[in-house]
Symmetry: C2
Subunit: 415 residues, 2 copies
């Protein structure tokens, strides 16, 4: 008997029939003797419908009110799932984020979990209940409802698993695991049985949209064994089969010793590039540029600064495409008067492609192999950024599929 | 400057356009210098949609989970209305029942308000905010979400007005006030400028569905000046005109001294009649019959027991039609073994028609005039019940419209 957390996405919760299937799957785990906590997302389309109503009223709606509205999608889901469980004979009880409570900071629409009180949930589990908890949301110190941002239910599930010291956190989704790259682009892509947290972190942040990145950070930090698996299988398949399917995200280094050098090719079309050119190269310049951007709550991904010429340097970084205009506004209003750059420009027609692998730490030549492959295809590299376990390049948007296919092949991921 | 509570029904909140109209109306009151608290219902159709989903999963859903689900409709409304207010320059903030908090008992789907903490709301009002509070809901002592039952937003609004000692509680609805009877049945029905709480209580409970009965009880108990008025007028009509429209429900007796003997004819088709016949007439028999019914949380309306013959009496009462089967089950399982009645029967083809008027206290002959009118129309009376300010009869369902029209005319309500 173990304590297991299940998480189901919006598609799995998309209709009354599907919710009943989720209930059958959950009940199967409980009948096998496990204590089960379930974190479902809102029914698919619901969050968009709710935020759409708000947007019809105002394009610049108060984030506090958006969270008040958006959080209801998950609240409906937990109630419906609890009823579905009860209707097939399982004891079940639902909780919203504030009822648990899941405490967060006050950054509406993108809050971070600070703590989870497990006492009420644990009592119910010991009393034989399946506990169904809203994903995506919590409350801040003043009892305001907050949401964690898109995909936040993954994070909620992992955080709940961490708080309860769960044996495993199962993320049921509409893919059957983590692949070497997106099979829609490379049909030969292979499912990985295991992947390390560090690799997954790079994969997730770079666009393999299986898991929300913050959930992976959480899983790594609290060493939560997390498995990504399919919610599309028959809910009544044998539990042992289900329990070993999908991709397990591990945190034990030794488990990965024998792994391939490269685990996968990730990519991302959600970013835009900003270049601040001709900046006097003085100490503190990076902070002067990025400080106001961060204060405006805009996330920055890649940051590149090259050596300077004649005391001037170029400073480039990427932000989410939706935040390009906002970032440029901030730079022109708050940064330019201070730094006197020659130009500040933005570009949306870019993408980022990365090779990821924990094995690359002990292997040389991965970077050169990557650059050679792209060069052979005639693809120009605009920016390069490296970490211990990944190399990312920014290239022209239109070459993305070509680059991914070429790299997948070059690193032998098809076999 | 006064503190005013506005309540808007589901129709008024039925679309983005209508929500914007509500915002304009509310902002008008705030601009005139009033502090305004708004209690909106869920968007029309939303509560039914949510409960419909639950019903698709299970016909006998857990009431706790139903409340978890149903309460989201109002939560969406408050967020949207706050955004609409902000978009036209009014400071606004929304709260759910638990955020205020509105404390209730634990009777899911029909909870009663126990207390309302006004501190957070009052602080916001003093800071210049319009405060938007969810109707229909609260939390019990264990932080479970509860709902007050259908129409509960009226009760929430009046309870909030009482807690804040508001100057007036304005119930905006799709009718422009309280009428002598339903104009759909009697086109000559007239709007009442004022009506006493006691009359309104009888009118509301008897089927003039303008206000939820519990809201009227609350208004009477805490002496909240409550006005029913139209939400369909132009939101920009002069405030003075709007403030004097509709029907004011008063609690000062003297204001009603000059009122007509009869204020209105109420009716109700939602009830069913239960007759427990041939019961030994002993002390405690009423309790033996109704105790188990009340324990099953079934509301009883009229109760009639006539004199006994040969030590046997007949005991009749009415319940809501939807609860007839449940009530009969309870009676057969828990009451019959104890009391040994000759028969227990139920009938749905009945209706209740009442004449209501605070003036009847000092006038004789109202009852006989009522019975004479019905008799002239050939309508048989099955049950009679009287109070100080109303006389109700149960008659065959099919005569309802006829009876209402005849009584409306007989008591001169058309002029």
């Amino acid at each position: 008997m173990a304590l297991i957390v299940h998480k189901y996405g919006g598609t799995s919760m998309g209709s009354v029939e599907r919710i009943k299937n989720v209930a059958r799957r959950v009940a199967k785990w409980q009948k096998a003797g496990h204590q089960v906590v379930v974190v479902p997302s809102a029914m698919s389309g619901e969050t968009n419908r709710l935020l759409g109503l708000a947007k019809e009223i105002s394009e610049r709606a108060d984030p506090r009110e958006l969270d008040q509205i958006a959080s209801t999608g998950e609240q409906v889901s937990v109630g419906l799932l609890a009823i579905a469980l009860q209707s097939i004979g399982a004891k079940a009880k639902s909780y919203t984020g504030w009822q648990v409570p899941v405490k967060t900071d006050s950054a509406y629409t993108k809050a971070r979990i600070e703590s989870i009180d497990d006492s009420r949930v644990r009592k119910d589990l010991n009393d034989g209940y399946v506990v169904v908890i809203t994903g995506f949301q919590g409350i801040d110190g003043n009892n305001n409802i907050t949401t964690l941002g898109r995909g936040g239910s993954d994070t909620s599930a992992v955080a709940v698993a961490a708080a309860l010291k769960a044996e495993e956190c199962l993320i049921y989704t509409d893919v059957d695991g983590v692949y070497t790259t997106d099979p829609r682009i490379v049909p030969e892509a292979k499912r990985l049985e295991k992947v390390t947290f560090e690799e997954m972190l790079e994969m997730a942040s770079l666009g393999s949209k299986v898991l929300q990145i913050r959930s992976v950070e959480f899983a790594g930090k609290y060493k939560v064994k997390t498995r990504v698996l399919s919610s599309l299988t028959d809910p009544d398949i044998p539990l042992a089969e289900e329990a070993n399917s999908g991709t397990l995200i591990t945190y034990e280094e030794d488990e990965t010793m024998e792994q391939a050098v490269i685990s996968g090719i990730a990519f991302n079309r959600d970013e835009a590039k900003i270049t601040v050119a001709g900046v006097p190269d003085k100490p503190g310049i990076a902070y002067k540029i990025l400080g106001p951007v961060a204060s405006a709550n805009i996330d920055v991904d890649m940051i590149i600064q090259n050596v300077s010429h004649d005391g001037l340097t170029d400073f480039s970084f990427t932000v989410h495409r939706n935040e390009l205009e906002k970032a440029l506004e901030v730079l022109k209003a708050k940064v330019q008067p201070d730094i006197q750059a020659k130009s500040i420009t933005g570009a949306k027609d870019i993408c980022k492609v990365s090779v990821v692998g924990i094995g690359m730490r002990s292997h040389v030549g991965i970077a050169s192999q990557m650059f050679e492959t792209l060069s052979k295809e005639g693809i120009n590299i605009q920016m390069i950024s490296t970490s211990e376990i990944k190399i990312s390049v920014v290239i022209d948007d239109k070459y993305m599929e070509l680059a991914v296919r070429a790299l997948h092949k070059a690193f032998g991921l098809e076999s």
